[in-house]
Amino acid sequence: MLELRGVNAGYGTFQALFDVNLDVKAGEAVGVIGPNGAGKTTLMRIISGLIRPSRGSIKMEGIDVVATPSHKIVSLGIAHVPENRRLFPRLSVDDNLKMGAFMKEARARYAERLDVVFELFPRLKERRHQMAGTMSGGEQQMCAIGRAMMSNPKLLLLDEPSAGLAPVVVQQVFELVKRIRASGLTVLIVEQNVQQVLKVVDRAYLIEAGTIRASGTSAEMLASDTVKEAYLGV
């Protein structure tokens, strides 16, 4: 479904990704792990078009993502839940969700998608008129995921969904990922919480200093020495 080939990217003169190759197949959940500053967020950003690669190709179901204007990429079925949630703090939950359904295709199915999201997160329905910025961290995370789901995506990009959340909420978030996954969505997830994430994904990539250092199934990754030494610091 998603295919990255030889992708290089960076910020100004600073290069953050070097020749990254990555595949996500339809219906799969794939994790990306790596230390701070490895380039995980950068990877997510180039997929959703927030930044553009300096070299390499990105294909979503065969369509060239690089050539698509960034606001059209959502229409390809890619939804991105950015790092730190990035809700619109002074808009209500409802309005935040509305923003998620902004593009034409989604607008038509707005009511239907809203039901789906509220079913997934009943808490959001209770709080639909609250300003997003005043909600608790876990609720905000739900709202951010819900907003991404509003566009009826095929591929969901999650960037550190558990950061800063209470343990009980972290568990809920991973539960959620499982459920979303079970509903047929493809998920690409970045996480620091390696133990946990490897439990919900099929495969994972280890990224370090901008290059893919290892990849494999969850089990392989858990067992891999590279992963342990390079990252878990064990």
């Binding site: 608790s136 800063g164 009980v168 620091q192």
Partner: protein, 255 residues
Amino acid sequence: MLEVSGLVKRFGGFTAVNNVSFRVDQGEILGLIGPNGSGKSTIFNMLSGTLVPSSGSILFAGHEIAGLAPHRIINRGIGRTFQIPRPFRRLTIFENVALAGFYGQGRHSRVKAEEAAERSLAMVGLPTDRHASVDGLGAAGLKKLELAKALATAPKLLLADESLGGLDEAEMDQAADMLRNIRDELGITIIWVEHIMGVLMRVVDRVMVLDHGEKISEGLPSAVAGDPRVIEVYLGTDAETTQAAAAEARRRAGG
């Protein structure tokens, strides 16, 4: 050293902190945990003067400090870090810390402030080079800078709103060790807020748990980790976290 009683904070009709009382002893590390939005940062904000309590008293070293302006509280010896790092990007790393040293210690001497800055930077492991820019720091570096700024104010009590979320495990361990060192070497009392149980439990002497602005549990790490209410509202039923926390706590109690 710190004695808090009946602390309340309301935002409009919403009560973020409801009648919380606790004390912290000299040289202790107190862990402060609780679900998101339970009022941890709000308590920190009141202790450090960023927010004025709606009611209640805060005695620090025998003096009432509730409602004092932040800079006065800092001059009396309570330093803090912010959950989300807030560096001054227009200043160099060194200037950031020297600034805290100068104003945090009551604007006495610029020379002393710069010395304090060098010491604090060395303590947290940041370069003491005077020209290094903040822009070069990653997530972990920014957290260290927060800590260095707080240390430069020469606090007796340090409020660490650390939230290691987003740090990788190696860096988390480093941070935990650092807090430990600060207490051990400088004799600074610490209140630490954190969500990552494994790390927190390893360091703290005592834990206090908040939920919906109220204190629901307090005690030794092992006791708190076993408290069913805490498990329900905070730790969750997922065996692993709970067990990890409990095991860690037990190990320390034993060792």
